[in-house]
């Protein structure tokens, strides 16, 4: 156990100090947010919701246009989202407005423990067995 702990701590220390690459985009990229734990900045724009940020798929670099009270754009998803401006929301469908709201709370509503919960390990492609990081047989995962 001590051997494992030493290896893990060494690994984490290496990760902590190793280079992270160039800033992703503009000033907002400096506010790095990773609520879903994939190591990728959640503030990057994914305008078509395909799971690949625009700047990684050859599109425009930028951040998700989070909106503050009164409709002014804010710096990141940690700020309060109070979408009130009719002008800014005019082009968004109810679905898009919900997903924008949902993206700011992606760390809420799920938890990693409990009798039923898994550790979110494994292929995440919706496959019945092996999805959600658990070994599943006949729909029962453990």
């Amino acid at each position: 156990m001590a051997r494992y702990a030493t290896a893990i701590l060494t690994f984490l220390l290496f990760l902590f100090v190793c280079p992270v690459g160039s800033p992703n985009a503009g000033s907002v990229a400096a506010r790095f947010v990773d609520l879903d734990g994939d190591g990728i900045n959640d503030n990057l724009t994914d305008s078509n919701n395909d799971g690949i940020p625009d700047e990684f798929s050859g599109g425009r670099s930028g951040e998700t246009p989070f909106l503050a009270a009164g409709g002014t754009q804010i710096a990141g998803m940690f700020d309060a989202v109070e979408v009130k401006s009719a002008d800014l929301l005019a082009g968004l469908s109810r679905q898009e407005r919900f997903k924008l709201r949902q993206s700011t709370v992606r760390d809420l509503g799920t938890f990693r423990g409990g009798f039923y919960a898994g550790e979110d390990f494994g292929p995440g492609n919706g496959i019945a067995a092996g999805a959600s990081g658990k070994v599943c047989v006949g729909g029962i995962c453990f």
Binding site: V20, G39, G109, R112, G113, I127, G138
Partner: protein, 395 residues
Amino acid sequence: MRCIAILLSVALLVCSSGKATGAELEFGLDQAHTSNLLKNAGEAAAWYTNPRAALRLYPVPTMEISLTGQYTFYYGLDSGLTELEDLSNFRGGVAVSFIPRQSDDGVSVVMEGRLDHQEYRDAFDEYSNSDGALTVTAGTAPADNLRLRAGGSVRRTAYGNSDDLDRSEYDVFGGLNWTLPGRNVIDGEFGVSLTRATFMTGLFVHRITGDTLSDPSVVQASFLTPTEADDSEALSLLYMSKRFSRPLGDRTGISATVTWRKLPQSGSKTVQGINSDVVSPWSSVWEGYSFSVNIKTFMIPRIILTWGAGYWHREYLPAWEIRAEQRGSVMVDFWTFVERVDNQRRTYVSVERPCSVAGSILRLSVSVDYTSNSSNHILYDYEDVTAAAGVSLTF
């Protein structure tokens, strides 16, 4: 299958009026092969197919209503194991997610309620169940780089054909997400869960007697047999989980997660059939610890490549299992007591290719998952390789 047909009909009807109605429809199909369906030393290989559909409605911008249905169909088992094809099951449900408008003090609230039903074929019909859950979580950001969260969940699972398996679960959890200099993110979480269920308690001696003088093939033996508790008892679970994540270069992210689980005061609580019936609800109840690493990269254009590896140490609840054994000329079913401790290693790689086609998202995915499990119980020394390919269309 009838449920899927109804769901698809409704979905097509709703979505035919376009996105402006606030609807999203998703179809998916996965095809996979596992070298070890039951995850034990028997190594029964099988194929399975998983068609699924989901309809998500957005009546208001703060609410999502989703209807889901999927059927998992197992086939291709060796002769003699065809009964296992009855693990095939339908799972369908409805869920409502509500994210009310955030208040001026920056508190976010997410509420989710859902109802699901899972139906197995005849041989495993005992495990057909209905499941309902309500989860409420609140989060707030006291600083630019810190978010706190706390929540609770209530869940009830009812087995229509086996009341003894019914369970109620209550969870309380909290956590923080803290961004440190250098884009290092620490996410810590802790929680307490309480489940009420029927446990096995007490023992009585079951005696097989015979005239060993006139019939030497008959043996005299005594077996301990558990009895079921009359009243539901509670079992608690404590857990802590730490996750560390950060970018590696421009297009890659890495995370490492450590989780610890403890069943305090599990005492003499024992359950029935955790090992012998792989679909037992007790299969997911264990204490121990785990460590896993995941890497996600966009280095290959238009491809999401994910790799992960993990280690789990699991100590399961003591279980009573029915085993058949030859005693003289008689085959006797008797109860045996099993205390199972596993050490498991897993690794997987997944490749996903999303395509945007006329406003719809088509996803193609391939994954391979390898598991090596060692146990104090020889039945659970096993390996498994599961390979899967899937496609989904969201519009």
